[in-house]
Assembly symmetry: C2
Homo-oligomer: 286 residues x 2
């Protein structure tokens, strides 16, 4: 074999041992600093992963097909890559990184895909279960600051599934529009209260590549039952959170890792249904 040694090489040629360095050496010096930081970390971890698992060519092609099919599954109304992020715990990690108050404020959890813009404002005491189905649930509580003082005029924006595990937007024509959604405003004592129905667990979309991966990992598709809340008040950090009933069989196996111990509520059986006292604590805006 006749080779020509090239003494004028500026960029290193590919070598297995230095593979990530070879790739990163190509980034131009005027690359945006944040992009360079992200890609440096991404390429280093990607190459380290490949060297750890040493995929065969067929395994590499399986990964290419999985990523391609996950993209093809995405439409205006289905986001399979967010589902992948959710089920691998990445969405919760992004949430934790961006919302760690560490000061006694109510913990965040993920927003999820079922929030609807411009939900109806309702007076305290209103029953947001517009079709009267399911087990009635009374919720009341206060919005507090981290010193325990009431926050008046805070908004408590709630949304949830019905007793069969469906959001209104998943059952158009079956559930009334804006069923089980409503925004409440706290009174001078920081209190809010409303009527609803007990939510039920439900499966994430399980018919795509992410569902196949979960099945292969012997994992289930169910999200633990929960009520979503966004709580806001001027001068405070917003909190996006859930409350979970403690009797849901999927608390420990929530498919998207949304459950936190501090977000499990003491749902009490009462005459004619259930009751929950549930306070929120807001951190002052930075």
């Amino acid at each position: 074999m006749t080779n020509l040694k090239r003494p004028w090489t500026k960029y290193p040629y590919f070598e297995e041992d230095t593979s990530a360095d070879v790739v990163l050496a190509r980034m131009g010096p005027d690359t945006d600093a944040r992009l360079a930081q992200v890609m440096t970390s991404a390429v280093r971890h990607l190459h380290a992963f490949v060297k750890e698992v040493r995929p065969t060519h067929a395994e590499w092609l399986t990964a290419i097909k999985f990523l391609t099919e996950t993209g093809h599954m995405c439409t205006d109304w289905r986001q399979e890559y967010i589902l992948l992020s959710d089920t691998l715990g990445v969405t919760m990690l992004i949430d934790a990184i961006n919302h760690s108050h560490g000061d006694g404020a109510t913990e965040n959890t993920i927003l999820g895909p079922f929030y609807v813009e411009n939900p109806p404002h309702r007076p305290n005491g209103f029953n947001i279960c517009l079709d009267g189905k399911g087990e009635p649930l009374s919720i009341r509580g206060r919005v507090l600051d981290t010193d325990g003082n009431p926050v008046a005029g805070a908004t408590v924006d709630a949304w949830q599934t019905n007793d069969e595990g469906f959001y209104d937007v998943q059952q158009k024509g079956i559930q009334p529009d804006m069923n089980l959604r409503g925004v409440f405003t706290t009174d001078d004592a920081g209190a809010y209260w409303f009527q609803t129905a007990k939510p039920r667990y439900y499966p994430i979309p399980f018919d795509g590549p992410v569902g196949q991966l979960l099945r292969a990992m012997k994992r289930g598709p169910n999200r633990a039952a929960h009520i979503h809340f966004i709580v806001k008040a001027p001068g405070y950090e917003d909190v996006i959170t859930h409350v979970f009933p403690p009797d849901c069989p999927y608390l420990e196996m929530d498919a998207v890792f949304g459950v936190k111990e501090t977000l499990i509520g003491d749902f009490r059986k009462v005459d004619g249904g259930w009751a929950l006292d549930w306070d929120f604590t807001l951190a002052r805006a930075a």
Copy 2:
């Protein structure tokens, strides 16, 4: 806030510090062992990457959109995820992992997307440049074993671009079918020889999300000029490789990291064109 401590928890709830462990704890004990190994490494590196770069919610959404658009760009004739793998050096790394002979055999490099099944078998001496365009190139060499003995009856399957950087399949109706493709068989002395044209560098598809990422990293799209080869003989490992002319301006900046020092040939200027002596060394099959 009223919480209910759950002493019966089997699976841990999500915590930032232990996030990868929480996700991996969910894998069922009867998960395929290889899948469990791959996902364990993937989830650990993915979470470590997120913790290193601490993406904002907007940056996370940018990543989701990039992955989605890369999937949407894939069709039967365009594989943007393979292009992403190529340009991040992963394809070359997979190749290195699966083809490191370390015994003096000719080095592998990537197959690329332009191989065509059932190329024409040609007699030694045949000119595969069917339209006579470009600078003529004579190639001759031998196929050897790692002890330097000739391998008779080996096949040398070659394909390449024309002098404008296009493969025949990219210029149907402009180039003749099977232009610059041919399979040669070594004689009793292990020799092969054929006529062709000098290949030119060419850009990888640059109009999709991968092209955008390369531009953002201030990287160019060009592959260094090369001739592809697959060399096979009974009892030996196949080798998928290239030879590169030493005067190509993109040798050091090949967009897919395909260049290796040992694969740069000594192309000599001769009367009426170019000449190359190029031997292949095959490792015995395991």
